[in-house]
């Protein structure tokens, strides 16, 4: 009996202690406005940028006593899953670096905070970015949800020695020239042209022929047109004859860059991070042999990275101030030069472009920056819909069927149109 009593007392004490701890924790959270502040920033595949990120953190913590910033990095394939599990657990990071159009869904669902009041309050934040880039990187249904971090978009890389050997003196400026050059450059195992295909990166091939993805208000498919049918037929024919490498439609990142890097393709439609990817696995690619030019019609697909702030952040002002710091001219210039892509920060990008030393040390990158900036007014592959991932998949999986001769171009586009309209109707 006595033993039982001892157990009861022990359990009661343990429970009281646990309750007190939980209560104290709750009180601490309630009073967090005055206490130490802690935010977490989640980045997308940036372990190689660790020195700079640690630099952000030490500068910010130095200027904001009592604030702690924790950095978490995840690989590209892991980040969305990781972020969603954090959301489900109710512990999303305060700031998250998101690539492409994933953030539309987060904006629509209220997962990301509407940053419009902050942009309103800090006028400098609006003017520090190139207007077209800011619009494409940040706006969803008229409101700001993201702050541009680094902002690569697609350009046309080409193999200068192959061009010279084929007697081609300059990169193509029209689709007709691109097709003619690609045919001329094709021989043996070498294809004239290859493209990356994820996140709408192949879309300049259609847009240069006047094809839009959705109608102006984003409610219906707009791509099932005679021009699109003709484009798809041409692409199918060029693919089956090897002028366009099949890897364009089967690979994702490693494979097309590998093909171009290995010298098995003469032109590559890709965004700027591809430069490092194919150079690293190439014996021919260097500053003298890689050419960079705008895609015909200067059509370019953005594949931007930006920062969103969680609507459930306990310290949104601290998070905003941190984002302000890391996208200022100094850190933007650092991001552009280290990551080798535009930052979107006008002052930082123009300063790098006009820096003769930077151009001398990185001629292809500097040229890419100029090309990218020149295309900023001609961005395509932007659906502006929260269902972007599904729309993208519906279009691409059907187009792929036509490209590999499974169905006609007409049927592929008609099936894709029906699928997209069904997806958009169910929003």
């Amino acid at each position: 009996m006595k033993r039982k009593m001892q157990w009861v007392v022990f359990v009661a004490v343990a429970l009281s202690l646990s309750a007190a701890t939980v209560w104290a924790g709750g009180q601490g959270e309630a009073a967090s406005g005055q206490g130490p502040k802690s935010i977490t920033v989640l980045t997308w595949n940036l372990p190689h940028y660790a020195d700079s990120i640690n630099g952000w953190i030490s500068e910010f913590q130095g200027a904001n006593k009592g604030v702690t910033v924790t950095w978490v990095d995840k690989k590209g394939t892991e980040l969305p899953t990781y972020y969603q599990t954090q959301l489900a657990a109710g512990t999303p990071p305060d700031i998250v670096d998101i690539q492409g159009a994933l953030w539309y869904q987060y904006a629509k669902d209220g997962i990301f905070m509407d940053l419009s009041p902050y942009f309103q309050k800090d006028a400098d934040m609006k003017t520090r970015f190139e207007p077209n880039i800011l619009k494409a990187a940040s706006m969803y249904q008229g409101k700001y949800y993201m702050v541009p971090f680094y902002t690569p978009s697609t350009v046309l890389f080409y193999n200068k020695p192959m061009f010279k050997a084929a007697g081609i003196t300059s990169p193509p400026t029209t689709m007709e020239e691109l097709v003619a050059d690609a045919k001329k450059l094709t021989h043996g195992n070498v294809s004239g042209f290859i493209t990356l295909n994820f996140d709408w990166l192949y879309w300049p091939l259609f847009r240069a022929n006047g094809v839009e993805i959705l109608n102006s208000d984003g409610t219906k498919a707009a791509f099932n047109t005679p021009a699109a049918v003709q484009t798809l037929k041409t692409l199918t024919q060029l693919t089956s004859s090897g002028v366009i490498s099949k890897v364009s439609w089967t690979g994702r990142w490693v494979e097309p860059n590998g093909e171009f890097g290995a010298g098995n393709a003469a032109m590559l439609n890709a965004h700027l991070p591809a430069l490092k990817a194919f150079e690293s696995q190439s014996t021919w690619a260097n500053d003298q042999t890689v050419g960079v030019a705008p895609f015909p019609g200067k059509w370019s697909v953005p594949n931007y990275h930006g920062f969103g702030i969680a609507s459930k952040s306990k310290f949104p002002d601290v998070a905003w101030n941190f984002v302000k710091l890391i996208t200022n001219e100094k850190w933007a210039k650092n991001a552009a030069s280290v990551l080798g892509t535009l930052s979107g920060n006008s002052a930082a990008d123009t300063s790098l472009i006009s820096d003769p030393q930077f151009a001398k040390d990185n001629p292809v990158v500097a040229e890419s920056f100029k090309v990218d900036l020149s295309e900023a007014g001609n961005l395509t592959g932007i659906t502006g819909t929260a269902k972007d991932a599904q729309v993208k998949d519906a279009v691409y999986s059907n187009i792929q069927k036509a490209l590999f001769g499974q169905v006609s171009a007409e049927k592929a586009l008609s099936d894709a149109e029906a699928a997209v309209n069904q997806i958009l109707a169910g929003q």
Binding site: P80, R252, K312, K401, F404
Partner: protein, 302 residues
């Protein structure tokens, strides 16, 4: 006396419960709760943040009207029927061979089992390279033998992609099935073969009348493992084709993943998961029934 025995039974039952409790608790937390939570989610729309909204049978209606769902279901069934029976037949043949007192049979056994412990991602990368139409070993051999002029895009061709992935899975799982079959073969008492031999039964007759009936539970186990594999294999397909080209190699589990983590359609993904779970239960029950019940169990001396 009776009171004592009742007390003893009670304390024994209590001991069993206490010993089982930690395992049951873990099972309940990691299996029971997610299954129930999945069931609840399948009737809801949830964006990970707000309170889930009840949508009734909306997710199921959407699932049944989704052509890609049916395509991935069809692919899953093809993936199973194209892979497991072949793997089981091959495994049976190989295990009969390496069950004989051959010279160096342990080496053969090790070689056959070798692919199984390799991680699926590594297997997928290796086979992706082997299948490559430009630099892949298979196309190199085909070209060298003059069997083809242009490389075959095994993973990019709509007709070849699924069979190519199935072949990889057979290669991966074969060693495991051989080990299971071997353990089954080694439980068959030798005297059955000896008496059949004395009665003048041929090797084919012994195989048909002794080996096959007595390894029924083993075949049943391979069959069930094959079913589970085909419904849950994710890594190999995700790395090799990501469900493409088009949705030619999309199976239920990759489509569920896309719905949950790419399209943010958690409710739809939960409905598909439940469908898959129920379908798995059904075919397991049917397989059990066909194999005579009791998981194909047999009595050697019946």
């Amino acid at each position: 006396m009776a009171i004592l025995s009742r007390q003893r039974r009670r304390s024994r039952a209590l001991m069993i419960i206490i010993l089982l409790l930690p395992s049951l608790l873990v099972f309940f937390l990691y299996r029971g709760v997610p299954i129930v939570w999945n069931l609840v989610l399948s009737f809801e729309k949830w964006n990970f943040v707000d309170t889930p909204k009840f949508v009734g049978l909306g997710n199921y209606a959407k699932m049944f009207s989704d052509p890609i769902f049916w395509e991935s279901f069809k692919n899953t069934v093809l993936y199973f029927f194209g892979g497991s029976p072949i793997a089981i037949i091959l495994a049976l043949g190989l295990s009969l061979l390496v069950n004989k007192p051959l010279k160096g049979r342990n080496v053969y056994r090790a070689l056959i089992f070798l692919p199984y412990p390799i991680t699926p991602v590594a297997i997928a990368i290796i086979w992706k390279w082997l299948y490559d139409d430009k630099v892949g070993l298979i196309n190199f051999i085909l070209r060298s033998l003059g069997l083809t002029k242009q490389g075959i895009g095994f993973l990019s061709n709509f007709s070849w992609a699924l069979p190519s992935v199935i072949f990889t899975t057979i290669w991966q799982v074969l060693g495991y099935f051989v080990i299971i079959m071997l353990s089954g073969l080694q439980t068959i008492p030798d005297e059955l073969y000896e008496s059949a031999g004395l009665d003048g039964a041929s090797a084919a007759r012994r195989l048909w009348s002794i080996t096959l009936p007595l390894i029924r539970p083993t075949v049943f186990l391979c069959f069930i493992v094959g079913i589970i594999n085909s419904f849950t294999t994710f890594d190999v397909i995700y790395v090799m084709t990501n469900g493409g080209p088009g949705h030619a190699t999309e199976i239920l589990v990759t489509y569920i993943y896309k719905n949950a983590f790419t399209y943010n359609e958690i409710g739809a993904a939960a409905a598909m998961t439940l469908f898959m779970f129920l379908f798995l239960l059904l075919i397991t029950a049917v397989s059990n029934k066909i194999s005579g019940g009791e998981a194909g169990g047999v009595n050697y001396y019946e």
